[in-house]
Amino acid sequence: MIYLDNNATTKVDEKVLEEMLPFLREEYANASSMYDFAKKPADAIKKARVQVRDFIGAESEKDIYFTSCGSESANMAIKGVLDCNKEKKHIITTKVEHPCVLNTYKYFEKNGYEVDYIGVNSQGELDFEELKSKLRKDTALVSVMWANNETGVINPVEEIGEYIKSKSPETRFFVDAVQAAGKIPMNVKDTKIDLLGISGHKFHAPKGVGVLYAKSNVRFTPLIIGGHQERGLRAGTENVPYIVGIGKAAELAQSALDYELKEVKRLRDKLEQGILKNVFNARLNTSISNRVPNTVNIGFEYVEGELILLHLSDIGVCASSGSACTSGSLEPSHVLRAMGIPFTALHGSIRFSLSRFTTEDEVDFVVDKLPAIMDKLTSLSPFQDELAELKRRKA
């Protein structure tokens, strides 16, 4: 099996699992308890908080809140901040956010908020000028993802933060960094980011644990109300093994960052160039270099994405598609539509996302096998004249 869907989820690093196991077995104490038996779990949480602090470059470990997933982190940030600034009813976000963020804003839109959705250009780059023009004194929150999950395009969150704070210091800035974590350097203390969310399973921790970072001066109400945990802002008995897991995964991702930026990128580029060279109907959906190093999104013209995925799966290759048919939603990816990807390539768009565990052999295998699959699938297409034209142009 060749796993090239690491933006969907990643495999748990063995070292992460090792670190977690004692807390699933003998060290089962509630970290809040008073006896000595609770000391190890309590210390382990402290350690994880420091590991995450260093991973995202936060000022203090007190700014780190453990959650259950990226969606919870996003909900906690958005709902928490809006609840504390009820007099402001304006929000700015982008058209290409992850559904967990986008649908939260749709919810607020239905409940009396005004939301501006900023567009992107054909390469997936955010229209910063449009964002600037929408910022108002009563803007409660600006919300921009650090990197896009489908295209890998990196948004200039540092510049956006500077701009927001220079014009409207009271406006809060939330960054969904789920797809940036472990792929590019992050140093939140050097930015004007107020809140930031990450998810463990995107960087080799298990599913079921995430983090919300909130700068110390940012007020927000809790999403889950209850006990004193996470400084009273996220109740629920601490999920010690998973918190230990995300801490270890953060440490490992931090030390693997150089490898990610050089070697993973080299393999990604090799895959990208190999496919574009060998497959005549392949078209790069975004070619900008300002992308996370592991992601490539390619549209295969006049062929439908689910069909490609099924044939890839038959040879043991896992990837994902922005096509309508894979989601059951009938509509293709909102990200690719916002970019204005032509219909000819939109439905046949495939995302390959690598990780530090991807090997050169795996990349070579895909580059080698894909042309035959695409020959078979294009022979099924009713658009034979258009395909012949593409082939002629490529030659």
């Binding site: 069909l307 219909f343 099924l380 658009f383």
Partner: protein, 278 residues
């Protein structure tokens, strides 16, 4: 991951009859590139028999499988036989499709319909023999996916659809902006109302049915307790019965009548039935 049947897997992996027939007698088309799936069906005739059929499809695994099996289903059939094939037949032949993928079978059927229309000529519509819901069936209801009123009527009728979500799964209508959902809901209600009227029994049919239900379902139960029931008369929706044996004079008799006899008759025959003891 979709739950595809073995047959669907086989047909998308090894599609049958792929390609074009250069001297095809009939060509049918359905869907569009913009909507995410499209199908071209080529038919070669020998008299009124479909001698050969081929297809080219842009679409997902189930769209390819639906097209592939459709060609197998129609080869060797007469035009008249092929015209009887519904989208449900296509899905059944594939051992079923996931609900959300039923529109793939509908696309197959539409391409077939489009091809056969060319055989019969545009005016003669063999498919909508009792389409008296509307005289403007070509009107587009869902502008996102270009779905016509007739396509929706047909899907509701053939597949017994009862919710807007069903209609979206089968025809895609309402699956994007959702603005036509209200119209679809009205169409379903209109259809169900008409369906209900058609099913209304004549007085004789009703009496026969009541008698049958009493004999087969109610009486055996009462006999177990040493009692029984006799049908005396039916006046409108009032069913007059007589409890006999252990049931006659039983202090729970009125409860038996209301909770047991009447409930079953309401359920099986007509919801407005009332039961009275004579």
């Amino acid at each position: 991951m979709w739950e595809y049947s073995e047959k669907v897997l086989d047909h998308y992996r090894n599609p049958r009859n792929v390609g074009k027939i250069d001297d095809a007698d009939l060509i049918g088309e359905a869907g569009s590139l913009a909507c995410g799936d499209s199908l071209k069906l080529y038919i070669k005739l020998d008299g009124n028999i479909i001698k050969d059929a081929k297809f080219l499809t842009f679409g997902c695994g189930s769209a390819v499988a639906s097209s592939s099996i459709l060609t197998e289903m129609i080869i060797g059939k007469t035009i008249e036989e092929a015209a009887k094939i519904t989208n449900k037949d296509i899905a059944d032949e594939l051992d079923g499709l996931p609900q959300e993928k039923m529109h793939c079978s509908v696309m197959g059927h539409e391409a077939l319909e489009d091809a056969l229309k060319k055989y019969y000529g545009e005016d003669e519509d063999i498919f909508e023999e009792d389409n008296n819901y509307s005289h403007s069936g070509d009107k587009i209801i869902c502008t996102c996916f270009n779905v016509t009123e007739n396509q929706i009527w047909e899907a509701i009728k053939v597949n017994g659809l009862k919710t807007v979500e069903d209609v979206t799964n089968y025809t895609k209508a309402g699956g994007a902006c959702g603005r036509c959902k209200g119209v679809i809901k009205d169409m379903i209600e209109t259809y169900l109302k008409k369906e209900g009227q058609e099913k209304e029994l004549t007085p004789t049919q009703k009496i026969l049915k009541i008698s049958k239900v009493i004999d087969q379902q109610i009486s055996p139960q009462l006999q177990k307790d040493g009692g029984d029931i006799e049908l005396v008369d039916v006046i409108g929706n009032v069913v007059k019965v007589k409890l006999v044996g252990m049931c006659s004079g039983c202090k729970n008799a009125s409860m038996t009548l209301k909770n047991f006899v009447e409930t079953i008759l309401k359920d099986k025959v007509d919801s407005s039935i009332e039961v009275e003891q004579v």
